[in-house]
C-alpha cells in the first residue's frame, strides 16, 4: 500500500514539474510528461511500479482525456466554417492515402486511423502563435483539424468493435446519445432555471457533478454493452458540447480536474512503459515520412487559393500528432491489436511528430512570406 502511494506521489510530482520544465524548453507539456515517465519508468530508473491504483487512475485519465476531447470540439466552428466541403475532401483523401500506405507497408488498419489523426490543440496554438487563427488560411486549418479529429476518433471507436453484436451495441449507444441530445435541448427550453445552475458558481458544483455523472453513465453503458469505454466518454463530451454550445466556467472546472490530475497520470504511465530499442528507428522514420505524405498531398487542393508553399505548410501542420494518438495506442495495446514494441515505436513517433511538424510548418510558412 505504501509503495503504491510513493509511486503516485512521484507521478504527481512529475505532473507538477513537467509543464514548468516544458515552458523552459518550449515543448508541449505532454511531451515532457512522456519523456519523464520514460526516464523514471522501466527503461531507466524503474521507479514507477505497476499497481492497481495507478492503473485505475491512468485509465480514468484516459477516459477523461476522451471526454474532454469530445467537449473541446467546437461545432460552431464546423457549422459556420467556410469551405467545409473541400476540408472534407482533404480528410477523405488523407484517410484513403493512409489506408493505402498501411496496406503497402503491411500494417494493421489501425495505423491508417492513427496516421490520419491530428492534434487540434497543437494546430490551434501554432496558428495563434503566428497570428493566423483569424485569417482564412488559419480558419481552414482549424476546421480541418476539428473535422479530422472528430472523424478519426469516431473511426477509432468503431475499429475496436468486434462481431455483429458489438456493432449493434455501438449503435445502441449512438441512439442513447441522440435521445440524450434531444432530451437535453428540451430540458434547456423547459427548465432554464435549473440548467443555468450548472454554469454558475454554486458551492455544490452541480455542473461538475452533472457532467461527470453523464460521462460515467456513458462509460458504464459502454462497458455494459461490451464496447470500448472511449466511445462512451467521447460521445458524452460531444453531447455536452453540442447541447450547451459553450459555457466557459463549467468547462474550465472540468479541464482543471482532467488536465490538472487524471490526464497527466495517464501520459506519465504511458511514458513509463516505453522500452525503446534501436530496431524501432526504421518504423518510426517510415511513419514520419508517411504521416507527412498523407497530409501534404491532399493539402495541395488549397494550393490554388494560398499558393503551393502555404499548402505544403498546411500539410505539415496537419500531420502533427499528440494526445489522441497516444490514447489510441494505449487502447490498441490493451486490445492486443499491436504489440508493446509497436506501441513504443508509435508513441516515440508521436512525440517526434509533435515536436517536428509545427517547427517545419513555421519554417516553410514564414520563408514564403
Amino acid at each position: 500500500m505504501i509503495g503504491q502511494f510513493t509511486t503516485i506521489a512521484l507521478i504527481s510530482f512529475i505532473a507538477f514539474i513537467a509543464p514548468l520544465l516544458a515552458e523552459r524548453v518550449r515543448v508541449p507539456a505532454i511531451v515532457l510528461e512522456i519523456i519523464l515517465g520514460a526516464i523514471f519508468g522501466i527503461s531507466f530508473l524503474n521507479l514507477i511500479q505497476e499497481s492497481e491504483w495507478l492503473s485505475f487512475l491512468s485509465l480514468f485519465g484516459l477516459i477523461f482525456l476522451m471526454f474532454l476531447s469530445g467537449l473541446e470540439i467546437d461545432f460552431d466552428v464546423i457549422s459556420k466554417g467556410r469551405d467545409v466541403l473541400s476540408v472534407i475532401a482533404f480528410f477523405l483523401i488523407s484517410l484513403s492515402l493512409a489506408t493505402f500506405f498501411s496496406f503497402l507497408l503491411n500494417l494493421n488498419l489501425f495505423y491508417a486511423i492513427i496516421l490520419t489523426n491530428v492534434a487540434v490543440g497543437v494546430v490551434v496554438s501554432s496558428l495563434r502563435e503566428m497570428r493566423l487563427e483569424k485569417e482564412k488560411f488559419g480558419q481552414i486549418n482549424i476546421v480541418a483539424a476539428f473535422i479530422t479529429d472528430f472523424s478519426t476518433m469516431f473511426l477509432l471507436s468503431l475499429y475496436f468493435l468486434s462481431g455483429i453484436n458489438q456493432i449493434i451495441f455501438a449503435f445502441l449507444i449512438i441512439a442513447a446519445f441522440l435521445a440524450a441530445y434531444r432530451f437535453g435541448k428540451l430540458a434547456i427550453w423547459y427548465f432554464p432555471n435549473f440548467v443555468s445552475r450548472w454554469f454558475t458558481d454554486e458551492p455544490s458544483e452541480i455542473g461538475v457533478r452533472g457532467s461527470l455523472a453523464i460521462m460515467i453513465l456513458f462509460v458504464g453503458l459502454s462497458s455494459l454493452l461490451g464496447v470500448e469505454a472511449i466511445l462512451g466518454a467521447f460521445l458524452a463530451g460531444v453531447l455536452l458540447s453540442l447541447t450547451f454550445r459553450g459555457g466557459k466556467k463549467l468547462y474550465d472546472k472540468l479541464y482543471g480536474m482532467g488536465y490538472g490530475f487524471f490526464i497527466p497520470i495517464f501520459f506519465i504511465k504511458t511514458g513509463s512503459e516505453l522500452n525503446l530499442t534501436a530496431e524501432m528507428l526504421s518504423l518510426i522514420l517510415t511513419l514520419l515520412l508517411v504521416s507527412f505524405a498523407i497530409k501534404i498531398v491532399p493539402s495541395l487542393i488549397f494550393s490554388g487559393e494560398f499558393g503551393t508553399r502555404s499548402a505544403v505548410a498546411m500539410g505539415l501542420l496537419q500531420s502533427t500528432k499528440l494526445s489522441l494518438t497516444i490514447a489510441g495506442v494505449s487502447i490498441a495495446v490493451a486490445a492486443s491489436v499491436i504489440s508493446r514494441a509497436e506501441a513504443t515505436a508509435l508513441i516515440s513517433f508521436t512525440v517526434i511528430s509533435c515536436l517536428l511538424s509545427p517547427t517545419l510548418f513555421r519554417m516553410v510558412y514564414s520563408t514564403g512570406k
Partner: protein, 391 residues
Amino acid sequence: MNIIIGSGEKVSVIASKLSDSLIVDRNPESAANLEFKGFNVLNADASDAEILSKFDTSSRLILADDDEFNLKVARVAKTLGFEDIVAISSDESKCSIYDREGVKKICNTIDNLLNLLLERDRYIEIPVGSEFEGMELKEFDPGEDCTVVSVFRDGKVLQPHPEMIVQKGDTLGVICGEEVRVSKNPFNAILILERGQRDDEIVVEAEMLAKRFSASIIVFQKKGNAYACNLRGYSDKIELEEAIDILKKSDELDLIVTSLEEKNEGALKNLVSKFPTLLVTGRTDYRKILAIANSKCPDKIINMAKAFSRFFGNVKVLLLEKEQLKHFSKFTETELEVKVSEGNPMVDAIKEFKSGYDLTILSIKNDLGNIDRDILWKMILDKNTSVLVVD
C-alpha cells in the same frame, strides 16, 4: 461643394441628401430629367479637363458613373489637383484600380457612400450659456436626430447621464445622424401585414404602437395570392416583395407588424433585411421589455431598446458577452438595465425570455453567443411574448 458625376436615379438619391451639390451628367436625357426634378445639373462630359478646371479644386468629387468613366474622370481630376475624390462602384474587384488612381474611398452602395459623406458633419460642440444653466441633461433637447455624448467641464471629459446638471461654461459634445434619430423616435410609418391569421392581434398591437410613436399606418391585406394596400398610388393588387421594395426605396417605412405561425426562415429574413419586423401577440402595452444582444453589431438591437425604453420604460438588455459593454459608451438620455450573461449565454437568454416579458427584441443574424437556431425559432414563434426581429 459636392460635384456628383453620373446619371439617373443613383445620382438623384445622392444629391437629395447632400446640401450644396451639382450634378454633372453626360447623358442629355437624364440631365434634362434631373433638372426637371429640381436638381442643379450641368449636362457635360466631366472627363473633359476644360469642364473640370472650371471648379474649385477644394470641391469634393463624387464619381457615380460606370467604372470606366469614373476612372477616366479620376485621372483628369488628379492632374488638375482635386484631392477629395470618392467613388461608388458595385464591383469590389475594381478597388485596387481605384486605389492606384488615388480615389480615396470606394463605397459599394449608396447608403455606405452617404454614411461616409454625412459622417464628417455629425459631431458638434455646444457651449453652455446662462440660459441652460441648472438644467438636467434629460431636459436639454438637442433635436430629434442628435444626442449628447460627452460633457467637457474644467478641462475634464465627463460621461453624461440623464440626471447630470449642466453648468455654465460646460461644453456639450453632440452627435447627430440617422442612427441617433432611430434611437430617439424610430417609427414614423408602420406597415400592418395581414396574412389571414391573428389579424385582429396585429391591428391591436400596431395601433398601440402607432399611437405611442405618433406613426402613420399602412395596411396590407392578403387577397388571394396578392396583397391589397392603401399605399399611395398602389391601390391595386400588388405582390408583397414589390411593395416592400417600393417602400424601402422611397424610405417611407420603419416597421412591419405581422404574425408568423410556423418556422419560415427565408420569408422572415426577407422582411427583416428590409425593415425591423414585429411578430405580435396582441399586446396593448409593453410593461416589461427584453433585448437579447445576439449579434456582432448589436447597435440595431440597442437602438431599438433605447427607443422602446423612451416610450415604454423598463427595458432590460441581456448581453451575451462582456465585450459588448463597449457598445454602451454613448447612451445618455435613457436608462436601460444592462445585464451580462455570467454562465451559459443560451441558457441565460432562455431563462430571461421565460420570465414574463411582453416584448423581446433580438437579431435574426444570431452570429454572437451560442443560441441554437432551433431555440431562436422557439423564441420567435413563442405565443407569450411579442418579438421584434431586427437584422
